[in-house]
């Protein structure tokens, strides 16, 4: 993807997370900044900060006094006077601050523990097999477009209780919301309106015909004896859809991208099933897809940097995961890394609500893939493209199948 912004020459003072160099390979940039800064600044997007060490990323994640989650996607548009204010925000609870945050989060948590997640596993496994069957007989195809991208969208569509046919439309909307952050404000607003209209239709349908799914769960949920306002239900549905799809698609794609280039890791995963647990965590650490964002809540001095109220701050968990102060040889993927306190799902009270679901999807996607295609490689490494913005993963991933599973 081409950035609409001028190219970055100095990432310490003028970084841009949509710059082609960052999109192609952000790790050397973060390694360099970790040595030099370790808090970078940019005037782009109206002023943005970037801490790149594990220590500083943790510090921000745990600090709800100086930072607000009112908006978590850096773009030219900041929350305006008409938006739901902190502590609720547009898409609770990700855009909520304490104390409201924990009220909404507690309401949602039961829907994302290991038990309901395990109930979605048979559907996920059958879906993966169906997608792989569709590639049968072909020696090359796109693992991102024909496999990885379909898995999370169809799982969340099923859990929310929408029609599987709506999955395609969801994907295009999400791409606009998350990746095209440098579009003009008016164009983005228009896209959000489309999302809201779709959700409103779903809500009406679920009110008329309640069923056993996540949408009905949200509509029936009560806080202090009161049902949630419809705009809050809608915001949370949009959040679950956006948060659950691009992220997991990216994790599955990045893991396949790694395995395509590392025959020894493929062989070990296919022959040592007991390795899957540490392997998943290591792939999540090394290729963590999600960088979050905060807004500075009040003027203050952050380790010698003059933070101003309303400044953006990118919270790069993937950079924290590559910090040599915490991880031995962080650039190396070791599938049996036993000590792995990675922050792929964030830290603190905004820990990814869907982490159990994401881990299940990633595990099943890799198990099913390796059972069918134990040996594969990138058919054209130069054709691999990566998403721009705060969610990083391969969007084109052409692979060549070297051997079919039994």
């Amino acid at each position: 993807m081409t950035s609409r912004h001028p190219p970055v020459e100095d990432f310490a003072n003028d970084f841009d997370h949509t710059d082609p160099a960052w999109v192609a390979d952000p790790y050397p940039i973060w390694d360099d900044l970790r040595q030099r800064c370790p808090v970078a600044h940019s005037d782009r997007y109206g002023g943005t900060w970037l801490p790149v060490t594990h220590d500083l990323v943790s510090e921000v994640a745990y600090d709800h006094e100086h930072f607000t989650s009112r908006s978590v996607v850096v773009s030219a548009r900041r929350p305006g006077p008409d938006d739901l204010p902190a502590p609720i925000g547009l898409s609770p609870p990700i855009t909520s601050d304490p104390p409201f945050h924990s009220i909404v989060r507690r309401m949602l948590l039961p829907a994302f523990t290991p038990t309901p997640t395990a109930a979605l596993e048979p559907f996920t496994r059958e879906l993966c097999r169906e997608l792989l069957r569709a590639t049968e007989g072909r020696t090359t195809f796109d693992a991102a477009l024909e496999y990885a991208q379909h898995i999370p969208v169809r799982v969340i569509v099923r859990y929310l209780g929408f029609r599987q046919e709506d999955a395609d439309m969801f994907r295009s909307i999400i791409r606009l919301v998350l990746e095209e952050v440098d579009l003009p404000v008016e164009e983005r607003e228009e896209r959000f309106t489309e999302v809201d209209a779709f959700m409103d239709a779903q809500i009406e349908d679920h009110i008329a015909h309640p069923r056993d799914d996540l949408t009905s769960f949200l509509l029936e949920a009560e806080i202090d004896g009161h049902k949630l306002p419809v705009e809050q239900v809608r915001g949370t549905m949009v959040l679950l859809m956006i948060a659950g799809i691009d992220t997991t698609w990216s994790a599955i794609g990045a893991s396949l991208w790694h395995l395509a280039q590392h025959p020894e890791d493929r062989r070990r995963l296919a022959t040592e099933p007991g390795l899957m647990d540490t392997a998943l965590e290591e792939l999540l650490r090394a290729y963590a897809p999600v960088t979050m964002a905060r807004l500075v809540a009040t003027d203050f001095d952050f380790h010698g940097h003059p933070f101003k109220e309303g400044d953006w701050l990118l919270l790069p968990f993937p950079a924290a995961n590559r910090d040599p102060a915490v991880f031995e040889n962080p650039g190396q993927v070791r599938l049996d890394r036993a000590r792995n306190r990675h922050a792929a799902f964030g830290l603190g009270r905004h820990r990814c609500l869907g982490s159990n679901l994401a881990r299940m999807e990633l595990r099943v996607a890799l198990e099913e893939w390796l059972a069918r295609y134990p040996d594969f490689e990138l058919s054209d490494p130069n054709a691999v493209t990566w998403s721009a913005g705060q969610v990083r993963g391969p969007r084109t991933l052409p692979v060549a199948i070297l051997r079919n599973g039994s």
């Binding site: 507690r106 523990t113 792995n340 982490s355």
Partner: protein, 83 residues
């Protein structure tokens, strides 16, 4: 016979429900309805599960788990936590 015994504990103020400890050692940890973890029973670690307990500590992103050496085996407490 007297030998070192260990006790594991999840700090409920730090736990955010990553569920890594439960995944590493479902015998030592249990989850509540919100997916938050706590130690099973009094947290006494059977001798065969000490390495699992250490792994749980080393994989908690929130540093919520502590493993402490109990002074010596108290047979009464020990029988309570036999799985």
């Amino acid at each position: 016979m007297t030998h070192a015994s260990f006790r594991v504990h999840v700090d409920p103020d730090r736990c955010q429900g990553h569920n890594r400890c439960y995944s590493v050692s479902p015998d030592l940890f249990e989850l509540d309805d919100l997916g938050m973890s706590s130690e099973v029973g009094a947290g006494m670690v059977p001798a065969g599960l000490v390495s699992q307990a250490r792994l749980a500590v080393a994989n908690c992103p929130e540093h919520a788990i502590s493993l402490t050496e109990a002074p010596e085996i108290n047979p009464k407490i020990n029988t309570e936590v036999q799985p």
